[in-house]
Each structure stands twice: as structure tokens, then as C-alpha cells.
């Protein structure tokens, strides 16, 4: 079972790998969430949903069910 954005905790970073939903991916890519891009989870709304992430130099919020379509891989150790 691969790791998705939905399962990340605040403070965690990852690199976007791919998407599981084509339509959703179009919206996300348009907003700068491209494969290879570094993202970091900043905080989670009071009821656990939606979440706020840092991507491409700005802050983006999205629902858990939207985040679940984003497959991520760990940040490479440099």
C-alpha cells in the first residue's frame, strides 16, 4: 500500500510521485503539484479535514479525499 498525501502528518515532507485520479490530477497539476515537486504538510483543520500544505512556494489547502489521490515518496537524502 503506497503512501499518500492524506496519510502524512503535520511537519512531514515528501516528493510527489503520481496521481490515482486523472480529473483530480489536472486540477492539482495546474496548481503547481507536479511529480517531483517537494511538498510539506503544515497543519490540519480542527476537525481533521481539510489540510494545508506548502508547495511551489505557497500554501494550498485540500480535502483528505483529494489528498488521497496523490501518491508520494520520501524526500531523497542529499
Amino acid at each position: 500500500m503506497r503512501h499518500t498525501l492524506a496519510s502524512m502528518k503535520p511537519g512531514e515532507s515528501a516528493v510527489i510521485d503520481s496521481f490515482t485520479d486523472h480529473e483530480m490530477s489536472l486540477k492539482l497539476i495546474e496548481m503547481g503539484c507536479t511529480p517531483g515537486e517537494l511538498i510539506k504538510v503544515n497543519n490540519i483543520a480542527p476537525m481533521g479535514d481539510p489540510i494545508a500544505i506548502s508547495v511551489s512556494g505557497y500554501l494550498l489547502s485540500l480535502r483528505i479525499n483529494e489528498a488521497a489521490t496523490v501518491l508520494v515518496r520520501p524526500v531523497p537524502l542529499t
Binding site: 481539510p50 511551489s56 505557497y58 500554501l59
Partner: protein, 646 residues
Amino acid sequence: MSEQYSALKVALVGNPNSGKSTLFNALTGLNQKTGNFPGVTVDKKVGITRITGKTGRIGWASIVDLPGTYSLQPKSADEEVTCEVLQDTSNPDYPELIVVVVDATNLKRNLFLVTQLIELERPVIVALNMIDLAGTTANIENVKLLSERLGVPVVPVSARNQLGITDLKQLLASPVMPSLKKFTEPNVNQAIENIERYNAISVLVNDIVSKQAQHESVTFTQRLDKILTHRIWGFAIFLVVLFFIFQSIFYIAAFPMKWIEQLFIQFSVWGNMHLPKGELSELLVNGILAGLSGVVVFIPQIALLFGFIAILEDTGYMARVSFIMDKLMRKFGLNGRSVIPLMSGVACAVPAIMGARTIGNWKERLVTIMITPLMSCSARLPVYTLLISLIFPPAKHIGFFNVAGLMLMFLYLIGFVAALTVALIMKYIIRSREKSYFIMELPVYRSPRWTNVLYTIYEKVKVFLFDAGKVIVAISVILWVLSSHGPAGKFAEIEKKHEQEADSKQIVASEKLQASYAGILGKTIEPVIKPLGFDWKIGIALITSFAAREVFVGTMATIYSAGNADNTQSIREKMMTEKNPVTGEPVYSKAVGFSLMIFFAFAMQCMSTLAIVKRETKSWKWPVVQFLYMGVLAYGASFVVYHLFR
């Protein structure tokens, strides 16, 4: 003079939160108009600005402010309009020149749209905005590099600080050649094409974007967000903000409201003294002037509430409100963004319902529109105030709390609860297969731009005055006509009957009212409203206030002063002394008072709202549904309350 040069057609495009509106306001000032794109409920703002070319020739540019969008691949009605205007040569707003506003602190994402626009092969100018926050990105060398690589002129500006505006205007006046650059190959798989576009953009900005990980404005925003969207503090702070706004509106607005009332009373006294006696003067003073006063008196409240909401939007806090409230709202079939129309509805449902346009999903937007009128609007306040003062002595307290104040809060609360309940029901009744998106940018926090706030207030008040106000004044006039005229001969009969009596003025006035058309209407509906505890006089007021709620108080004034020729005793005192002719008991008992208040809380009594709902949903079906469901709710609740307290 200006007929010789037709205005240059310019389209202003850009991401949401890129400062596009600020730039539009800086360019056009008050020379702007808000309307609608034909066939869709999307705002259209057009403005004019003077441009002076290098040769000194003065011309005009007509600028269309297109809805903010992230790309030319439309995913909402807003974005579809933008695409159409930019690509359909037969569209009336098809521009000769495109100005795209770019947030310099977010260059990569903004360039996604810019590169798509350039590929349209039309003249494009990039207005690189927010240079004051962008650090080295906006250096002269970098700006030149960017311009070369894109193949279009790039003008550094700071719309908030009025920097670079003249440079931009000068550029508008000069010929701009379209760039022939391409950034990606068209691909059937849009995802791949988009990823390639971003790759091309990354290369393009590689040495331009400053190397620091993120801007300090972003870091500050993240820190503030930890508190403002905190599990517990986030909600608490939001409630405090709400409480503060509503308290301010009631207290601060009270002063200008009093002045306006006094002003209109002066006009009315002056009119009665100086205008020649007769039908026309009566119409002018008691019909039109009275109606106008009922509309104008609400402007302070409405201006204040929309002012506060505009400030919250401009600072970026509103996005956090949607963020915090989204999960809760979704339980009721609404969207985090539904909070804004619901809050605005406490001032006036008409501009509030127009604010629901920011909700992309059709079902969520429809439900928001259907329930917004249940939020107690400004017009209900005078009705509540009058009825509460009839029942509770103003100084009565339970411990620390003022009873009248508590009652008022309760009425507002019950409107909100009803709204959520109805939303929940509609969630399960209305079918929709459309996906609901939340993906939303959280803009960095910044201090509000006061001119933006003022423009917004001005626009919303205009909507209230002209859309809602027209109807209200018209209804007031009709009411006056109905209550001061009756079937032929009746009035003369009444006067004759009491000719010989000494102090007959009051009785004559009262009987005249009963005989008037308004009185006949009231008597006709009395059987229907009796179960709710209402008599025919209340009946008349209910009929007239079905067009606009605040007309209730004016109607009461008319009924009691038209029924009493001296006008000196205040409405409240007259109502309190009114006794039921059959039982001898006071008409306005606790039960009747509560029943009437609940009726006003739930009934759809606003023609202006119905008109706006029809326009926003593009069908008569929904306003009819709204009128019926609210009517049933009001009647039922009223009935229960009346019998509970008898």
C-alpha cells in the same frame, strides 16, 4: 473628442489573489461598472482609463476585469467565461490587448497561465505585481530576463502602493507585438502537457526566482495559521470575531440610523407644513417618503457588515474561515465557502445570495441560496425590536443578562439552526452527481487595502438600494393607496355618520381604515391567520410585509395612526392598549408576540430576494420552492408557538 478614437479593448486576467482587483481599481478608479456576463451568473466589471502614448496622443482603454483563473482549461463557470472572451473572436469583449497580472512571489504557478495566454498569439503585457514583497525576483536584470524569455513586455508594479501604474498605462498606449514563443507540445493527455509546461517554466525561472526557500510573508503566514486554524483556538477565535462584528454592527450602526430617522421625520414634518393640502402631497409624504426612509435607514448596518466581511477577505482571513468550517458545512451538504453568504445574510439576503457565486459545485451553491434567507436579515430587526418591546419591559434582567437582548439573540440563533436543518434535508432530497472540489489557495496574510474595501461596500450598498430598495418603495406606495382609499362613497358615509359628534376624529379614522381596501383584505384573510393568534389588523401588515419585511412596522404605524388622526402617541403605546373587542383582552399578548416573531423569522417575505434567486438559479422553480417551504415552516412553527404559550 473621444469619438475619434474608439477605446482600446483590454482584458485583465490573472490568478485569484494576484492583486488583480487592486490593479483594476488603481487603473479605473470610480470609472467602473459591475454587471453580468450574458447567460451566466458571473460578475463582469468594466472600467475606463485614460492612456497617454509616447507621442503624447491621449486615448482611452476599456478594461474588462475577467474572473480570476489558474489556467485556460476551464473547470468552472468563471473560467469558462474567461476562456470564451479570450478565444472567441465574435465575443463582444474579445480584447485587442491582454494584460495578465502576475504575483511575483508565486512566479512559477502564475506563469502557467501566462504561457498559455502567450500561446494564443495575441498581444500580451505582463504586470509583475507585488514587487515590494518579491525581493530579488523583481530586480531590473531579472525583469529583463523574464521579458526576453517570454517574448512579451514585463512591467513591474505594486498595485497597493501605486507603483508602476503610469509605466503600465504608457505601455497600453503603444503597439504590442504578440510573442511567437511556444512552451510545450499539445498533447491529448492534458496531464502530460501540463507537466511539460511546468518543466519548461522551471527552466525559464531557474536563475530568476530567489534562492531562499520561501518568502518571509509565507513564513509569517504559516506561523499565524498555527493559531488561527488551531484545533481549539481556531474555532474560538472565529466565534470571537463573529461576536465582535455583530456587536459592532448593532452598536455603531445605531448612531447613523438615528440620524437618518430624524432626518426623514424632519422632511415629513416640513412636508406636512409647507406642501399644499391634497392627494399628491399625501402620496409624497406618507407614501413615497415613508417608503424611502424604510430603505435608507438600513444602509449603515449593511455598509458595516459588508465592510467587515471585505476586510476579512482582503486580509486573507476569510480563506481560513472556509478552511476551518469546511468539514462541518459538508455534513449539511454545504461548502466551507457557504459561510460567507450565510454571514452576509444577516445584513441583507440579496447581495449575500449573489456572493454564493464563489461556490463551484451546483448543488452546494443551490442549497446555500435556498437557506440564506433564514438568516435573520436587517429588515427583521425593527419587527423584532417592536415586538420584543411590547412583551418585555426593556430593563428586565435575569441575573446578569438583559431579557430583551437574550430574546433577540435567540431569534438570530433559531434562524441559523433552521437554515442548517433545511440544508440537511435538502442534502438528501436533491440529487447531484457533480464532483465537489475544495482545492483552494490560502493567500498570505496582509493588511487590508482600504480602497478595495470601500469599493466593495459601495457596490454592495448599491445592489441593496437599487435591487431591493426599488421594490420596497413601490410596495410602500401601494400600501398607502390601499389603506387610504375605499369603495366609492364609504368614506363620505362615515364622515356623515359622525358629523354631529364632538370628539369624533379617532373613531372616523379607525372606521375609515376598516372600510378601506387594505382593511377588506385584512378581514378576508383573518380566518386563515386566526389559528396563529393574529387579527385582521395584523393581517393587513402581513400582506404588505410579504413584499418586504420592514414594511410591517410602517404598516403598523399607518394602521394605528391612520386609525387615529393625531399621530402623536407612539405605535408601541397604541398597540399595548389595543384590546380584542370580543374578549376584552390585550391583542398583543406574550403568545401572539412570540407567534408573530417566529412567523417573521421563517417566512419568505421579500420580493427582492425571490427576484435575485430567480436570476441566480435561472428558473422560477427554485424561488417558488423557497417561498412554499418557508411559508409552511413559518405557519407550522407559529401555530405551535401560539398554542404553547396561550
